[in-house]
Symmetry: C2
Subunit: 211 residues, 2 copies
């Protein structure tokens, strides 16, 4: 099984690396980071770079494709080279997946028309304008399309999908090996749980100096 | 505040990127990936590479140093260049931290003598042989030394530490932005919760084909 994880300038690192750490442990998986050009691709803060080992053209037909999100997603929404690759790869994929605002790129490519899907909580409205049916769930499966909510949710998506791919026992083994027994010290990880004033600060944009 | 994240061959990617995604969002943080040589550093599977932008020598006195783990840790336990850097950086650091078997490197450098600390659940016994007092907790603070359990626990460590560094409100804002409201589809993330037979397979080494 070939897994292709798409990189683009100003992606969010955990969107890609969270599910990578889980899905790359599927039996027989060959995981490859791809981008328009090979070489280092910088994340949203510029302080992290992941290496794309192959170009998009080098990997035309992965079994599983994963699109992370991040602030740089907005620059790709009309990039026909990337969107065309997503359409072509999706035509033969077993699974087409995204984390965070990566779903906006799948939607921009026309792949989520009429499908239930999710995204970062701040991007759910926009997901709807691109033809998907947004839901507030953390991980959404609609046929072969698997979308995750913001950033850290890619780990839950990865484990959910690994169970489908490799079975529950293997998924549990990977959960144990990665010691994924989360204990957040706060309980503010969703707009329903966080203080309303904080949610509002993000919605109005006054908090975006965080990155 | 300067944050240095140490890379070495065959590190585990999520060990580094989980807390990176949280801690790099501290106000005024400058985060830098460091290694003995600059350039791409491959992870435990070889399919992922993070770029080290600076050498260890370039970053002699970070405010916060973070050592990830991974199978490659064992090759570094007598690497005096790295261990010497850890000792020197620790001499002036505000926080000295690790994820997973990264704590074994801190311990090998003599930095955890007599301190409460944690590691990947499979490495807790070895942590004790290097002079630390192992505990099974997910995140352990002992003075300025903050150690996390396996792989994914670095996210909890990052958020705990961000609260100390930047205050609870900022930490909650980062939790919300990264949508860290985990919902694992299984409940096998610790040796206490996983099926006993699975835990035993790891302890006897028969499961290490996972990577």
């Amino acid at each position: 099984m070939q897994i292709a994880i798409v990189l683009f300038d100003r992606f969010t690192a955990l969107d890609a690396v969270g599910p990578y750490e889980i899905l790359s442990r599927a039996p027989g998986a060959e995981t490859v980071f791809v981008a328009e050009r090979t070489g280092a691709v910088r994340n949203d803060s510029g302080s992290l770079a992941l290496v794309a080992d192959r170009t998009l053209d080098d990997v035309p037909a992965p079994d599983l494709l994963l699109v992370p999100g991040g602030p740089g997603q907005s620059d790709q929404m009309e990039n026909e080279n990337l969107l065309g690759w997503l359409r072509a790869a999706d035509a033969t994929s077993t699974w087409t997946t995204s984390v965070c605002t990566g779903s906006l790129l799948l939607a921009a490519a026309g792949l989520l028309d009429g499908r239930r899907a999710t995204s970062h909580w701040l991007a759910l409205d926009m997901l709807g304008t691109y033809g998907a049916e947004p839901t507030g769930e953390r991980v959404v499966l609609d046929g072969k399309y698997v979308t995750a909510a913001g950033v850290s949710s890619g780990i839950d998506m990865g484990l959910t999908l690994l169970g489908r791919i490799a079975g529950d026992e293997h998924a549990r083994a990977v959960q144990l090996l990665t010691e994924y027994d989360p204990r957040p010290p706060y309980d503010a990880g969703s707009p329903e749980k966080a203080p309303a004033a904080l949610v509002e600060e993000f919605r109005t944009g006054s908090r975006f100096s965080l990155r």
